[in-house]
């Protein structure tokens, strides 16, 4: 056993890079969000350019906020704290650099593809398959580097922050791979391996757990390391932190279906999602209280220290968001809140308050240490804090009000029993003042982010000519001499061997061993996630009664399929749902509620998660073809108060008939019974486009549209939700 003290250094260069990237992408992500907020009230600011529409830019904002801003913050936290907690330099500097540059390249690739309509249209998983593969490569490099560092550690006990990082690495890998399984047809287009209900289920299993394991667990790891450091006090209760960890791992993974209440998802899955979400209440609040009580005896410093200010408000927002999340998962609350801006307010209180403030608390704490100089301006950091806090509050209060207003107006009936606001646009106009207030709040928050970036850059500029290497010393990890619980069964004992085993189990002495054994910790984390996921997925995929087929529901024609791909590419799901819930106000407004069997050919599903515009599930046949042409050309020509951007280029851009057959073949390969279309996809598409173009011309519309994209989109929209009206039989 070696007890010789070893000297070693930490790799802070990679931490500096990730810290910089966090500050830069934070400004980019929030600026994009501010631009989108302005476009919601002034849609003409897309300037008629496809790349600037809300549908294409919103995924850019969400991806930048989650993966660029929060992602880089997480990596900065992991690289700084893991080395110190494990008493070891990162396993490989080359892998650290590959991770950093690879991740930035992925972000740039997202920024270059999403505005051009290259998207899978799955929320927070929009990136197409080549970028998905790059993510896998970078994530594997990160995992090897992280677990390699654990293997080389000089600290026997693995601190709880490392557990949270470990859970993040394992679970994000599982989520990313399963949700992105797709059949590519070109470098920029693929079809999901899942269809309809299954696709929706998998997507929200992913979507919810991306929040859990990308925006929660690594930030809790960050909290459990940096908050004690900033407060110079140990965490209030280490026991509570362990409870916090396991309860998140065992419970969070189940909660995804609460995003799909009252949809065509089976009832049991939705109920399960709700129950587990409510169960999350206690451990989440336990974690928040643990964070805040860590400051016991240090509260007097909060007023003076911007780092602690950011952490206190960040942890408080964690508490607010994790109180509100379970609340929104309760079906009766969800019936009001779903598809409204209430969800947007909830998400922003979490993202800006929890992720944003924890990130900047960490950056302000890190900056003097990694740049080895004083923070450039404490006053500017304080100003950032107040601008940010005020910005979030103004933003969320306005959007909560907008969300509740929307929800109540959608479900309001007058004294005659009819919808009080039958025209959807009435409910849009009512909340526009709140959208302006959001712009004010967003501007304040962005101003704070810019201050943060300036402060980080100026601190960096006053760095020493040469960084002193950050070093430490510790004995190599030899045989552990401390207490290690073991299952010992004495030869002569009044208790049986089973009894001893029972005591060992009940006293959970095995857990003490796990805490020093990364392999077992990782294994059980993965097992919890996989078993929980399988319990939900297997019946959703294999019990047929969950998705009864409807005889009259047929595959999309080749032209409709191309039109659907245009709908996907334009990101229409960002504003329009295709899911009518079995709630009277919805069936009155939109028509017959949605059935699971209606979506069996939908790859990907397009149920959406919010209604900035009305639901489109039963729009097929509701208006003449010409109405759609006019509406896409200039939405205000058909609905004067509409806030939808114009899509005029669809009537001038050529339709790519050459790709039709490839699309049909891919769908046929995935099991869609295409019959004749497998041989004559292009001819069938051309024939249908001629019919529609003639109809539009006969209605007094423009002539010669038969080879334009608008025709395919009209074909798709006119088909939407119309199959069940042909006959009602099920088999």
């Amino acid at each position: 056993m070696s007890t010789e003290v070893e000297k070693f250094s930490y790799d802070d260069a990679v931490v500096r890079k990730f810290a910089f990237a966090t500050a830069v992408w934070g400004v980019v992500a929030t600026l994009a969000g501010l631009w989108l907020a302005i476009m919601l009230v002034r849609p003409e600011l897309s300037f008629g350019l496809p790349q600037l529409t809300f549908g294409r830019l919103r995924p850019l904002h969400t991806n930048a906020a989650i993966f660029a801003f929060a992602g880089n913050a997480v990596f900065a936290a992991v690289y700084y704290s893991s080395q110190r907690l494990l008493k070891a330099r990162m396993f490989s500097d080359a892998l650290s650099n590959f991770h950093f540059w690879g991740w930035q390249a992925i972000i740039v690739a997202a920024a270059l593809t999403l505005p051009f309509g290259i998207t899978q249209s799955k929320e927070y998983a929009e990136l197409e398959w080549p970028i998905d593969l790059a993510i896998v490569a970078v994530w594997v490099a990160f995992a090897v580097n992280f677990f390699g560092t654990i293997a080389r550690r000089r600290e026997r006990h693995i601190y709880v922050a490392i557990w949270f990082y470990m859970a993040t690495i394992i679970t994000v890998a599982i989520l990313h791979i399963v949700n992105n399984l797709a059949l590519p047809i070109s470098a920029g287009k693929s079809y999901s391996l899942y269809a309809g209900v299954q696709d929706a289920f998998i997507q929200w299993w992913y979507g919810h757990n991306a929040v859990a394991f990308f925006l929660t667990t690594p930030f809790l790891g960050l909290m459990y390391y940096f908050l004690p450091k900033a407060a110079n006090r140990p965490v209030f209760s280490y026991r509570l932190s362990i409870l916090h960890f396991w309860s998140l791992v065992f419970i969070y993974i189940w909660a995804g279906p609460h995003h799909l209440h009252y949809t065509a998802l089976p009832e049991w899955a939705s109920t399960l999602g709700m129950l587990f979400s409510v169960m999350l209440w206690m451990p989440s609040w336990g974690g928040m209280i643990n964070g805040l009580l860590t400051l016991r005896g240090a509260w007097n410093r909060v007023a003076d220290d911007p780092v602690l200010k950011f952490f206190v408000v960040g942890v408080t927002f964690y508490g607010m968001a994790t109180f509100e999340g379970p609340l929104l998962s309760i079906k009766s609350v969800n019936a009001l809140s779903h598809y409204t801006d209430w969800t947007i307010a909830h998400v922003h209180s979490g993202a800006l308050g929890w992720n944003g403030f924890m990130s900047f608390g960490m950056l302000y704490w890190l900056a003097p240490r990694i740049f080895q100089t004083k923070l450039w301006s404490k006053n500017l950091a304080n100003a950032h804090f107040w601008f940010g806090t005020l910005g979030i509050l103004i933003y969320i209060v306005a959007i909560y009000a907008a969300g509740v207003t929307q929800g109540l107006m959608w479900r309001a009936f007058d004294e005659t029993g009819r919808l009080a606001y039958p025209d959807f646009v009435e409910t849009v106009v009512r909340i526009l003042p709140m959208y302006w207030v959001r712009v004010v709040g967003g501007s304040l928050f962005v101003s704070g982010m810019v201050m943060g970036l300036v402060n980080i850059v100026m601190t960096w500029r006053s760095r020493p000519a040469r960084y002193e290497e950050s070093s430490d010393e510790a004995p190599a990890l030899g045989a552990y001499t401390g207490f290690t619980p073991k299952l010992v069964i004495p030869r002569y004992s009044q208790m049986t061997a089973t009894g001893h085993r029972f005591v060992y189990f009940v006293e959970a002495q095995w857990h003490r061993v796990w805490e020093r054994n990364p392999f077992k910790l990782a294994l059980w984390t993965a097992a919890a996630v996989i078993v929980a996921s399988a319990f939900e997925m297997v019946p959703t995929f294999l019990i047929r009664s969950n998705v009864p087929t409807i005889a009259s529901v047929k595959p999309y024609t080749p032209l409709e399929l191309v039109g659907r791909d245009i709908y996907v590419s334009e990101g229409c799901y960002n504003c329009h749902s295709q899911m009518i819930r079995p709630i009277r106000s919805e069936t009155e407004r939109y028509g017959e509620y949605s059935k699971p069997g209606e979506f069996i050919y939908d790859r990907p599903f397009q149920w959406g998660s919010r209604r900035i515009g009305p639901d489109l599930q039963r729009v097929g046949g509701k208006y003449p073809d010409l109405w759609h042409v006019r509406h896409m050309e200039d939405p205000r020509s058909t609905t004067p108060q509409s806030i939808m951007p114009a899509y005029a280029w669809l009537a001038t851009t050529a339709l790519d008939f050459g790709s039709v057959q490839k699309r049909v073949d891919a769908m046929a390969m995935l099991g869609v019974p295409y019959g004749e279309a497998v041989l004559h996809g292009e001819q069938l598409a051309r024939a249908q486009s001629r019919q529609i173009a003639e109809r539009i011309a006969s209605q007094g519309g423009p002539k010669h549209l038969e080879d334009k994209q608008i025709i395919a989109l009209v074909a798709y929209l006119q088909r939407l939700g119309s199959d069940i009206s042909h006959q009602g039989s099920t088999k």
């Binding site: 704290s81 110190r84 907690l85 600290e155 006990h157 601190y159 922050a161 459990y224 390391y225 004690p228 450091k229 110079n232 006090r233 140990p234 965490v235 209760s237 280490y238 026991r239 509570l240 932190s241 362990i242 409870l243 396991w246 309860s247 065992f250 419970i251 189940w254 049991w268 899955a269 109920t271 399960l272 129950l275 587990f276 169960m279 451990p283 430490d472 010393e473 207490f483 006293e507 959970a508 857990h511 078993v531 929980a532 319990f535 297997v538 019946p539 995929f541 294999l542 019990i543 047929r544 009664s545």
Partner: protein
């Protein structure tokens, strides 16, 4: 016969309740363990602060 035929005919009416009970049981177990755990937690909670404590000692 497909796997979906087998699973569909199993009539798993209490399927959803089983994991709820199992996972809730584990959750309660972890809670109990935390209440019973010995005193080394205090020491482990200081891990993030040890490098600064060591640096102070070295000074």
């Amino acid at each position: 016969m497909k796997l979906s035929d087998v699973v569909s005919s199993m009539h798993l009416t209490i399927y959803a309740e089983v994991p709820l009970l199992v996972f809730m049981g584990i959750f309660m177990g972890v809670c109990l363990y935390m209440l019973r755990r010995g005193g080394d937690a205090e020491e482990l909670a200081r891990l993030p602060l040890r490098d600064e404590e060591a640096a102070r000692r070295r000074r």
